[in-house]
């Protein structure tokens, strides 16, 4: 279909005139079916509407017009030149011969790009796209396994994925060696890392010390300035966040969260890249002995990573506490469970309790009142166990299981214990 509107004024006039003998035929021709035309483009290009033709007769015999768009959507496709709006409108960008590389080392907490990583990629795009004649490419260096499939939407042109086993866990020396190799082979024009505790903050400082570049830390804003060596200047937090330092942007940048808007309008070709050298074996002096089991009950609710939360739907409280212990989850509760005296007040999640930031939140027998949902806004994955398939918690949940809480928890506990047993036998 060409995008040009072809109009036949006589046909339109007939379509408007309900009394014309050919009215029905013309309507059918215009693709408006047996229904009466409700909306058309008038002779002056103005949209005209026929209020008599819209709406429906409500249960009490009164005419109702639904403006929520449900009806409109149902009758979509009536006009001419109507493009489908659902198509992805993001522009595809491919940079074949980049003038330079901007290397980003995202944290990939939990195997996915965090919002901090996305902001950083947005910053990288600003640096790469500044000169449209000579665009640079954004290179993401990712260590270990990941579950991310949205690199392109986040603004990555080239992806260097290093998934050897040596990078698993806290392996700053191995990662540093790999980054030094990248520096030698690809010589990125900029290095960007998130200034986030134990992630980019640690690795970025190591990298800067190794390649002897003085980095800017705590950067939260950049702007163009041709007087500076790299053409940019930045504002960075100094002195434990109490001062702002304005300085020329160095090669290595450790940026804070929200340093730039994440990429949203373009989609990039994530071309895989590999190092030509094999990374040399490394004698590390730091050895990771793994995470230590901390008592989940001792972790503050606001910063717990995994919460098992109980509501009015719990009858078997011993079973719930046992499940929390086996799963290694921190316990939370809805207000009703607290008011009824089953849980202490400091375990209450929600508007009048604690706002939690858990990565995984399991709501057992909680209906999902708005006061409760407010408290779990920033949780990543929500799992609901409930008897009522229509409750609000189910709408919020990423995974909902309809059934009795006690038996599902018991089955889950069995499963976890059985798996631990197998692991122990295998070991």
């Amino acid at each position: 279909m060409t995008g040009i509107l072809r109009r036949d004024p006589r046909q339109e006039w007939i379509a408007r005139n309900r009394l014309h003998p050919e009215h029905e035929r013309v309507l059918a021709e215009l693709g408006q079916g047996t229904a009466v035309a409700t909306e058309w483009v008038g002779p002056n290009g103005v949209i005209r509407k026929n209020p008599h033709a819209v709406g429906f007769i409500g249960p009490n015999g009164i005419k109702r017009i639904d403006r929520s768009g449900v009806q409109q959507a149902a009758s979509a496709g009536r006009g001419v030149g109507h493009e489908s709006a659902a198509a992805d409108s993001r522009r595809r960008v491919e940079i074949d011969a980049p003038a330079f590389l901007v290397a980003v080392v995202p944290d990939m907490a939990g195997g996915r790009l965090s919002s901090h990583d996305r902001d950083l990629l947005g910053l990288a795009r600003q640096l790469a796209d500044a000169d449209s004649e000579q665009p640079g490419a954004v290179l993401a260096v990712v260590f270990g396994n990941h579950k991310e499939d949205g690199f392109g939407e986040a603004g990555v042109d080239r992806l260097l994925h290093l998934d050897e086993e040596v990078f698993d866990g806290y392996m700053p020396e191995a990662r540093l060696a790999a980054l030094s190799t990248v520096e030698r082979e690809l010589a990125p024009y900029h290095w960007l890392l998130p200034d986030s505790k134990l992630g980019g903050a640690d690795l970025g400082r190591r990298l800067a010390a190794r390649i002897q570049e003085r980095p800017a830390t705590g950067v939260w804003q950049i702007e163009k300035d041709d007087a500076c060596e790299l053409g940019w200047r930045c504002t960075a937090r100094g002195a434990a966040g109490t001062t702002d330092i304005q300085r020329a942007l160095p090669r290595v940048v450790l940026a804070l969260a929200e340093c730039a808007e994440p990429v949203s309008e373009t989609r990039h070709a994530v071309q895989p890249l590999a190092l030509s050298q094999v990374l040399p074996p490394l004698l590390g002096r730091i050895e990771d002995l793994g995470q230590v089991a901390v008592d989940p009950a001792g972790v503050a609710l606001a910063e717990a990573e995994f919460i098992l939360s109980a509501g009015n739907g719990i009858k078997d409280w011993d079973g719930f506490h046992h499940a929390a212990k086996v799963l290694g989850a921190t316990e939370g509760a809805s207000r009703v469970a607290v008011d009824d005296g089953f849980m202490p007040r400091h375990r209450q999640v929600g508007a009048t309790g604690t706002w939690v930031t858990a990565r995984v939140y399991v709501a057992v027998g909680i209906s999902g009142a708005i006061q409760h949902l407010q408290g779990i806004q920033s949780c990543e994955k929500v799992v609901a166990i409930n008897l009522d398939p229509g409750c609000d918690m189910i709408k919020r949940a990423d995974l909902a299981v309809i059934g009795d809480s006690a038996s599902i928890l018991a089955a889950l506990v069995d499963m976890v214990e059985q798996q631990r047993e197998e692991k122990r036998d295998a070991a």
Binding site: A209, T217, A239, T242, E303, R359, V360, L373, A397, L399
Partner: protein, 267 residues
């Protein structure tokens, strides 16, 4: 115990301390993280602790440094440096002279650039490993230290590092004891001279009190007014969630188990 034997068994620990700044009054004080570092050193068995500071000596810095002495020390080594000097060369040469096994520092200073680079630069210069964000040191045996690193969300990770090493402390390490006035007065600041290297790059920066960062607005990209209104008024809907109805408890539990495994929260 013989004095020599004791000296051999002792672990040489150096704690790098800096001048802090009270967040409200702006007065000089002992820096919180460095004081935690001193506390961490004092929790070690059979450790011989040296406090070390590189910087200028004036009234403010003297009172702040005496704050560390008040935690129970007789001396503090002060490597004298002018105000705008790069202290890395001076500290590196002082450390390579005293040869401590373990160097403890804070994560970042409360004054100046506060970039937190110092431990990394020292480590690179001395060729030692560096470990950041410690909650505690569990033990030191045969030249290997077992450390507990503080992770976000109250988690801990156990690491082993070969000494000599540089470690930095996290805010999760135990809080510093109070500084007692008497010992703080009586303690001695032992000054040593060192070569001063001026920090030239930082003279080109402009430093201002921190501005409040603009709050990020929720930008809604919508073609029509209706979509914009919906985005502004609608309550957050998860949408696309998977709902399992009519399943046995075992099937339900299995789906949850799979999700927990994928997210890596089960241990």
């Amino acid at each position: 115990m013989q004095p020599e034997a004791h000296a051999k068994a002792a672990l040489e620990v150096a704690v790098l301390v800096s001048i802090g700044r009270h967040p409200l009054t702006g007065r000089a004080r002992r820096a919180d993280q460095d004081a935690r570092g001193v506390e961490l050193a004092m929790s070690l068995d059979k450790a011989r602790i040296t406090l070390m500071h590189a910087g200028a000596l004036d009234d403010d810095s003297e009172s702040a440094l005496r704050g560390y002495l008040g935690m129970g020390f007789q001396t503090l080594t002060l490597v004298e440096q002018p105000r705008d000097a790069d202290v890395i060369p001076a500290l590196a040469s002082a450390l390579s002279e005293t040869k401590p096994q373990l160097v403890i520092s804070g994560e970042r200073a409360e004054q100046g650039e506060g970039s937190g680079l110092l431990p990394y630069l020292l480590a690179e210069r001395l060729g030692w490993p560096v470990v950041s964000g410690l909650a505690s040191v569990e033990k030191v045996e045969d030249g290997v230290a077992t450390l507990l690193q503080a992770l976000p969300r109250g988690q801990r990770r156990r690491l082993q590092v070969r000494l000599p090493a540089i470690v930095t402390v996290d805010a999760a390490a135990s809080a510093a004891r109070q500084s007692a006035y008497g010992p703080a007065r009586r303690g001695e600041l032992r000054c040593t001279e060192a070569l001063a290297v001026p920090d030239e790059a930082s003279s080109e920066w402009t430093v201002q009190p921190a501005r409040k960062r603009p709050k990020r607005l929720k930008i809604v990209k919508a073609a029509s007014a209706r979509d914009r209104f919906k985005a502004a008024a609608a309550k957050a809907e998860g949408g696309g969630g998977q709902v399992l109805t009519d399943v046995t408890p075992e099937q339900g539990a299995e789906a949850i188990f799979k999700l927990l495994k994928e997210e890596g929260v089960l241990r």
